[in-house]
């Protein structure tokens, strides 16, 4: 029997992942199988051109190489898996292999957490394992829905930890690799740029350091894009990486600002005609479950450039504060804030992107009562907001129990870690807000299907998105306020 607490918690979490192997998996399972097939069966020049399947390769080249590595093993497990023509192939061997690849690649995250907390107390390490590796969001998205976020978030944590500890080149290389695996992480680039410029590239060796950093990043990008530029594939890749025909909101609205915006637009579209003002609105626009560009009925429709501008505007106080005081303790909060801003205001944000916020944020969750409170509210909202991702009946009790149990244990352990009584960690309003999720879920799961049967199918999703968006917006406002200059006199450590 395992007696070391760390090994026990890791074994238990591994057991949960193994038990989830036969669970429902989304089309992302076929996506990754197809990418293994593409990279295995086709020459480099055709990777970003192939359209045998609708799930074309749309991640940067390093991720394609990762899929290529997987395919080298997959061919021995089940050769049919890596055939291009095996559309929607899912033999038992294929399922076990792909699920295992997610678990094995997640070791990057396990070691990242272990490394980041290697000097912390055992209790703190156990808390981190529970908060990060035991997070229901990670389990729901990676091990049920099927994605490789664990590995990518591990890389992010390695990068952040290295930069915090002063190993800037290593951290930059890790970040460059990360962006070349999933370009979504490029939202962190302003933070990295400003911090490294102001913290690392100064003093007598400023120019050499700048050149070294630049060379490292360019080298990584070169390794990644080089072969494809040589094959003349760059425009094709860029077209695949930035598909702007997808619409502002995903089929299921991420709980961000645009969810509130769309809800307001829908409300106005209903109210204004009653007041006598004409409104043209196609039926079930934005809520038809389709991924397409739609125009709002009443409010102006933002273009991708507008959303980018808003993200940068939201990020400005943080960048300004980093420019003036580029301290290592501010790096992690800045990175978390940058991810949150891009989640709140970005174009076509998936609800899964909230993982980019909650996982790094957990590293600092036990540092103070304020951090613990912020983390708990934000991560609980994230867990519940992700639940609609799974809509099958078999997984329903599993996802509900995972969220409830994790929330209870995380709350108890966080209170212990920051030495607070359970009743005083959250404010009354925060407690009321979080408890409000219970009636919401009861309505969505039980009352709505009974009352409306199959009418208004999007309403429960809309309500979940909007209610979660309210919570996340409030968290974002609180975190944004920390970066404003007039708050620098507060007792909050990282802004001083």
């Amino acid at each position: 029997m395992l007696t070391t607490p760390e090994y026990r918690i890791l074994a238990a979490l591994a057991a949960v992942r193994l038990l989830l192997v036969p669970a429902y998996s989304s089309t992302d399972f076929e996506v990754h199988r197809n990418w293994m097939a593409i990279t295995h069966s086709l020459p480099l020049g055709k990777w970003y051109q192939d359209e045998t399947s609708e799930w074309t390769l749309d991640y940067p080249p390093l991720f394609a190489w990762f899929e290529w590595c997987l395919s080298q093993v997959a061919v021995y497990i089940d050769p049919q898996m890596v055939q291009l023509e095996s559309l929607n192939f899912s033999s038992n061997a294929c399922i076990v292999f792909q699920r295992s690849s997610v678990m094995v690649s997640e070791l990057v995250l396990v070691f990242a957490v272990a490394y980041a907390c290697r000097r912390a107390s055992e209790e703190k390490r156990m808390l981190m394992y529970l908060l990060i590796l035991g997070s229901p969001s990670l389990l729901l998205v990676d091990h049920i829905h099927f994605q490789y976020n664990g590995m990518l978030l591990g890389l992010l944590l390695w990068s952040i930890t290295w930069i915090r500890e002063g190993q800037h080149i290593a951290g930059s290389i890790a970040f460059a690799v990360l962006v070349n695996m999933k370009h979504l992480y490029a939202c962190l680039a302003p933070v990295y740029l400003i911090y490294l410029l102001r913290h690392y590239c100064r003093g007598p060796k400023a120019v050499q350091r700048f050149v070294a950093l630049g060379a490292a990043v360019v080298a990584v990008c070169g390794v990644s894009f080089g072969p494809f530029i040589g094959a003349g594939q760059l425009p094709q890749i860029l077209g695949r990486l930035f598909p702007f025909g997808r619409g502002l909101c995903h089929a299921y609205w991420a709980a961000n600002f645009w969810a509130l915006y769309s809800c307001a637009d829908k409300a106005l579209a209903v109210i204004l005609p009653r007041l006598g003002l004409p409104v043209t609105a196609p039926e079930a626009y934005m809520t038809g479950g389709l991924v397409q560009v739609t125009h709002f009925a009443v409010l102006p429709s933002p273009s991708p450039s507008i959303t980018l501008l808003l993200v940068l505007l939201a990020l400005l106080p943080c960048l300004f504060s980093l420019w003036r005081r580029p301290r290592p303790e501010s790096f992690l909060p800045a990175a978390v804030y940058a991810c949150l801003c891009s989640f709140m205001f970005g174009y076509h944000v998936h609800e899964k992107a909230i993982l980019m916020v909650t996982v790094p944020m957990a590293l600092a969750a036990a540092e103070s009562q304020w951090d613990a409170r912020q983390y708990f509210v934000l991560s609980t909202v994230a867990h519940v907001a992700l639940m609609p991702l799974l809509f099958t009946e078999q997984e329903y009790p599993i996802k509900v129990l995972m969220v409830l149990l994790h929330t209870a244990v995380a709350y108890w352990m966080l209170c212990r870690a920051v030495n607070t009584k359970a009743s005083t960690l959250l404010s009354k309003q925060q407690q009321a807000y979080l408890w409000g999720f219970a009636p919401l879920e009861i309505y969505c799961a039980a009352v709505h299907p009974l009352m409306f049967v199959s009418k208004l199918p999007f309403l429960p999703l809309l309500l979940t998105s909007v209610y979660s968006a309210l919570g996340l917006s409030f968290c974002w406002l609180q975190m944004a306020a920390c970066w404003l200059p007039r708050y620098s006199l507060s007792t909050h450590a990282h802004v001083q």
């Binding site: 029997m1 395992l2 007696t3 090994y7 026990r8 918690i9 074994a11 238990a12 591994a14 057991a15 949960v16 193994l18 038990l19 989830l20 192997v21 036969p22 669970a23 038992n92 076990v96 009946e393 078999q394 009790p397 599993i398 129990l401 995972m402 409830l404 149990l405 209870a408 244990v409 108890w412 209170c415 212990r416 030495n419 359970a422």
Partner: protein, 524 residues
């Protein structure tokens, strides 16, 4: 460290029960026995078929061979309570997905929705019967223990891998009969003999396998009756219990007693003497020794049945005598474990799943035998691996064992054999009797406590098990010895189960000496 107050103790109990539920739901995702294996399928189809039979046919026809219900296709061969349970769940499924239990037309019916419903019925019976019984036992047997020890005990009882894999993977309803048996043990230990007897009769009426516990309950209750001061009170005590047993049986068998010969037909189904000495591979004495001595060739079936009955009763006799002489709550659990192990090792037509009967009292004894409680479940699951592999449950097996490795290590306070406070009230004393066996010998030589020595020994015993698993993945057995691996599984498991049975029998006897000495010390 913040003190754990009563509120957080309750919350941690709820969290542990919630985690146990979550584990059950996730194990339920895995395949069941006989999935897609036409024409007979497996235990899942058997249960579904019983729902079909009990919902559509009147009770008087449940045990009668007919076109819709006969032994060639999963005839109902469990006692009436199983029938009522099938009827109840069958009605529920009939109201949601009637095709799943349609008479005649639903043979081999398999759909994701009906699988979910069937799995829900097992989990529902867990929640309604097993969990309350376990919590009752925690209350009764957990007096004087720290919160951490109680948390560990609850995890051990609720997350036992063999039960999870059989009930929620392979698909069975052992949880109901085991729940009633556990409830009976708890209630009797708390002093309410009549209610406890009733609960045990309910367990017996759900699955006749609970007969394995009968010697222990009989001996304990007889011992308690004999402790009464006067002869008349003793006779009255026995009579009261007898009345309760008869009444419970009468209520359960009522629909079948109405028709003449109905009870006989049921008994015919319940006691399958026509079947063999053992089926497939099971880690008991007869199967493991059969390569060396061909029992089935040498003796007739009648002789074998008698031999098995004799051997089982002989093996269970020491623990029975102990309980008649000095009954105690912990002795009852020990008796249950020893009796179940005796019957598992020596009885006729034993299934590999029957080890679950021994596992229940052993895990309930976790406070006193922490190392055995942590290790028998591993060997029980290991012994069932051939069956689980056939069902496609090998990933679930690995996961459940991994989870067990994570939770089963006893807290240090139990491992080092520290004595907890003596609990008054129900005279449930914490004695060091069971720890006296190894500690004196071992401590003299190594300076390590007995429990710790057992702990290290059991860690070492993992190696052969792991090597058999690894070997099976990579090395093919020769054509002459096709069942080499199956034989290896049961032989290795038999060795450990037999050793544990011997150890528990000796421990039960050392219970009484310490009990006697404690009562002496209380008087003096």
């Amino acid at each position: 460290m913040l003190m754990i107050d009563k509120q957080s103790a309750v919350i941690s109990c709820i969290v542990i029960c919630g985690s146990a539920l979550l584990t059950r739901f996730t194990v339920s995702l895995h395949p069941y026995s006989g999935f897609g294996v036409a024409p007979h399928y497996g235990d899942y189809e058997a249960q579904r078929h019983w729902m079909e039979v009990t919902v559509h046919l009147p009770a008087s026809e449940w045990y009668v061979d007919s076109k819709s219900n006969n032994l060639s296709y999963w005839g109902l061969d469990y006692p009436p309570l199983s029938g009522y349970q099938s009827w109840l769940f069958g009605q529920a499924i009939h109201s949601i997905e009637p095709d799943a239990v349609a008479l005649h037309f639903s043979h081999g019916y398999e759909s994701p929705h009906s699988k979910f419903l069937m799995r829900l019925t097992v989990i529902a019976s867990d929640i309604l019967v097993f969990f309350p019984a376990v919590l009752l036992c925690l209350r009764v047997f957990g007096g004087g223990k720290t919160v951490q020890e109680k948390q560990w005990w609850l995890l051990v009882v609720l997350l036992q891998p063999a039960a999870l894999l059989i009930d929620h993977g392979h698909f069975q309803y052992n949880t109901i009969s085991l729940g009633f048996a556990a409830g009976a043990a708890g209630v009797i230990a708390a002093g309410h003999h009549c209610w406890g007897s009733m609960l045990f009769c309910l367990s017996l009426n759900h699955k006749q396998m609970s007969m394995y516990y009968a010697p222990a309950f009989f001996a304990h209750l007889l011992g308690k009756c004999l402790q009464k001061p006067s002869m008349t009170q003793q006779v009255l005590g026995v009579a009261k219990l007898g009345l309760v047993v008869v009444a419970t049986f009468a209520v359960c068998w009522a629909p079948f007693l109405a028709t003449p010969g109905g009870a006989l037909q049921m008994l015919n189904r319940l006691v399958p003497v026509k079947r063999g000495l053992y089926e497939d591979y099971v880690a008991n004495f007869w199967c493991v020794t059969s390569p060396m001595f061909k029992w089935r060739r040498v003796y007739t079936q009648q002789a074998l049945v008698t031999m098995c009955a004799g051997a089982s009763l002989l093996a269970a006799l020491p623990s029975m005598i102990h309980q008649i002489l000095s009954p105690s709550p912990r002795g009852l659990l020990m008796g249950m474990a020893n009796s179940a192990l005796a019957f598992f090792l020596f009885s006729y037509q034993v299934h590999e799943k029957s080890i679950l009967l021994a596992l229940l009292p052993v895990t309930l004894l976790a406070f006193d035998q922490p190392v055995v409680a942590a290790w028998l479940p591993v060997w029980a699951a290991f012994s069932m691996y051939p069956l689980l592999k056939k069902d496609g449950l090998h990933i679930a097996y690995l996961a459940c064992l991994l989870l067990w490795l994570a939770v089963a290590a006893p807290p240090s306070s139990l491992r080092s054999g520290q004595q907890s406070a003596v609990q008054t009230g129900h005279a449930y004393t914490q004695s060091t009797g069971s720890r006296r066996l190894c500690p004196r010998v071992a401590a003299r030589f190594t300076g390590v406590s007995g429990q710790q020595l057992l702990h290290y020994a059991s860690l070492l015993s993992l190696l052969p098990a792991a090597s058999i698993h690894v070997g099976q993945c990579f090395v093919q057995p020769p054509a002459r010895l096709m069942h080499l691996y199956d034989a290896a599984y049961v032989s290795l498991s038999f060795a450990h189960i037999f050793a544990i049975a011997v150890y528990l029998n000796i421990s039960q006897w050392s219970l009484s000496s310490s009990f006697v000495s404690q009562t002496h010390s209380k008087r003096s």
